[in-house]
Symmetry: C2
Amino acid sequence: MLEISQRGQQMPMSPYRKLTPYADAAKQRGTGVYHLNIGQPDIETPPAMLAAVREAEIKVLEYSPSAGSGSYRQKLAAYYQRNHIPVQPEDILVTAGGSEAIFFAFMSCLNPEDEVVIPEPFYGAYISFAIATDVRIVPVVSTLDEGFALPPIEAFERVITPRTKAIMVCNPSNPTGYVYSEAELLQLLDLCRRHNLFFLSDEAYREYCYEGFATSALQLPGAEQHVVMVDTISKRYSACGARLGALVTKNPDVQAAALKFAQMRVSAPALAQLMGEAAAELPESYFEHTKAEYRARRDLMVRRLRAMPGVTCPTPGGAFYVMARLPVDDAGTFGRWLLEEFSYQGHTVMVSPAAGFYVTPGLGRDEVRLAYVLNLEKLDAALDCLEQGLAAYPGRLVQPIGDATPALEARP
Amino acid sequence: MLEISQRGQQMPMSPYRKLTPYADAAKQRGTGVYHLNIGQPDIETPPAMLAAVREAEIKVLEYSPSAGSGSYRQKLAAYYQRNHIPVQPEDILVTAGGSEAIFFAFMSCLNPEDEVVIPEPFYGAYISFAIATDVRIVPVVSTLDEGFALPPIEAFERVITPRTKAIMVCNPSNPTGYVYSEAELLQLLDLCRRHNLFFLSDEAYREYCYEGFATSALQLPGAEQHVVMVDTISKRYSACGARLGALVTKNPDVQAAALKFAQMRVSAPALAQLMGEAAAELPESYFEHTKAEYRARRDLMVRRLRAMPGVTCPTPGGAFYVMARLPVDDAGTFGRWLLEEFSYQGHTVMVSPAAGFYVTPGLGRDEVRLAYVLNLEKLDAALDCLEQGLAAYPGRLVQPIGDATPALEARP
């Protein structure tokens, strides 16, 4: 009998997809499912990006250079410079999505069994990349009650060992929406300088910041040798399917190593790079529009959640996620129950149980991540479902206040 | 001082790109460079594939499912079935190029320090994937004088150890163009069954076979549990920049493990999958045309090479490469000399020194890989350059016969 590899066995299933079979079954029963579980924006991809592909005159769709096409790297550098992030074209390695940039960063900076310290909760796929690259993630817990702010720097100091090679943050954070302040980032950079660590900064959601602006780690004085930034057009321009990201660093050794990994897979997608060029030239008004829309959704979601008995959530400053604590025995069980047992006005709602964003056992059991990637009307309806579901759920820990009668419908 | 990872240090530079600075310098001097060094076809990408992207009505370019879009997997399975390869949609995992399929195959089948046995010479990037996944490549030497046929199966038996977990072939072969016969493949499968090994089959060039057809490893009786096939649209449809490949296996454990690696990076490029759907529906006449063109080029290249004093080469049955032994001290030095010191009628030629396709030290030193990815006229002119270059090269080992006066031109 042939056995697959140990890493193939250890690799987790995507936490986003665990509840998918129950959602599919609900749809088959005729129940509509509002998806608050995934970070797939509903905002239109800017037409100029799609036009760039449509209008390109291509005879042979050739490999692009392994580091990315020269014209895209130039335009992307100009985008960063407009945003006061000091990046030159040669600091950019174009990748197949932010995912590949994470992979190249781990491969280039970390040896097998090296440790990377990450504030918890964090993007679940980091666990997969760590298994694939044989790296250890060491969590430092941030809490919902503190709004998922950076834990005291002493908590980082305490877990640093001779094997620690990097600190990693996602800023603005997926899954918490927390936006690290410049002061917090400076503390982390100082830590990296004192302990000779890389500073891996996943900035997939940088443009979506609803009070002021997110600081890029590359903007910090003294960042040059330490910071390896991961970027992507997926969320910024609602272009997840393009698979276009970037690894950005001013450290020439990391850049040279990452280029060799890039040569291994020859090139990033060529059509996506045409889209990226058009994206880098979009006017600022694109973000003003999109940010206003996301902010209105965030405000609605936070207001509605806080009005639900027993629900607590911080006001996230960025990204398009809210982490909420629910008055339930187990958010995973609740999420499954919503899909299997519940509907309200013919619909139910799919959430991401937060346990998939923690590695410390037991943490996040009563938390969910909710993505506000539906328009205001649908979002409101989805939150109706959540509210009614919480009131009806047999495993609820707090009795609903007032007259909110559980609105459990019979399954058709 | 921050140090990059050991694997980042060990990772080789792409062998195809080592001579690139010299080619760039030649172009800057005004010397035209015929590229026989890379497998970037000049054949037009089928217009129907580009039209599929142009005409798609996309509002939001979403993530596709991690295993690939359902409609593409169906159409690709139908393509295989038309080619008598028994593949169902659920046997297919869609990847970002054949490269990612190789990566997923190594990750899913092999543990760190496991061994994969590969006939040498082989595609240079396998070395990079082995370093990235901490796998050991054990070569079994095939020779130019035998036309790069499969070495006797005893040579494989001899190198099998308790750590051997897989055999890998590229069929038709890059870099040799050799097409493994069904009998040879059956020998390999038998070996895999006796020693409980995976059979990794890279079939990127399957359609380009100039006498008969290449057998897919998936067509062999008893292949189900053992064979993991790597495929790509890059060469088949001259669409290298799309980055669309597939891992195809009927082994459910490998498929499930590979899917988890696929979930890690969320999805393959969405626009490329639209191209892939159009490609899978192209009529057979597409391949008849393209094959006829490649065959004419192969015949020209082999005829011209054999007419050059001291040059020997087998007639490759497939792909679009010829491996040739040149009467030179060192093919790497010769390749660089062609770019730095030589021109003929304003042009020179860039070759791939074959050493980059061998891991056994010293092998392939007098061999080059030549890709016939130029039209007949340019190919003829490129071979003029090679012939004149060989006659003029100071490190040549065989005097030119006849009156072929070295045509060394002064550098401008």
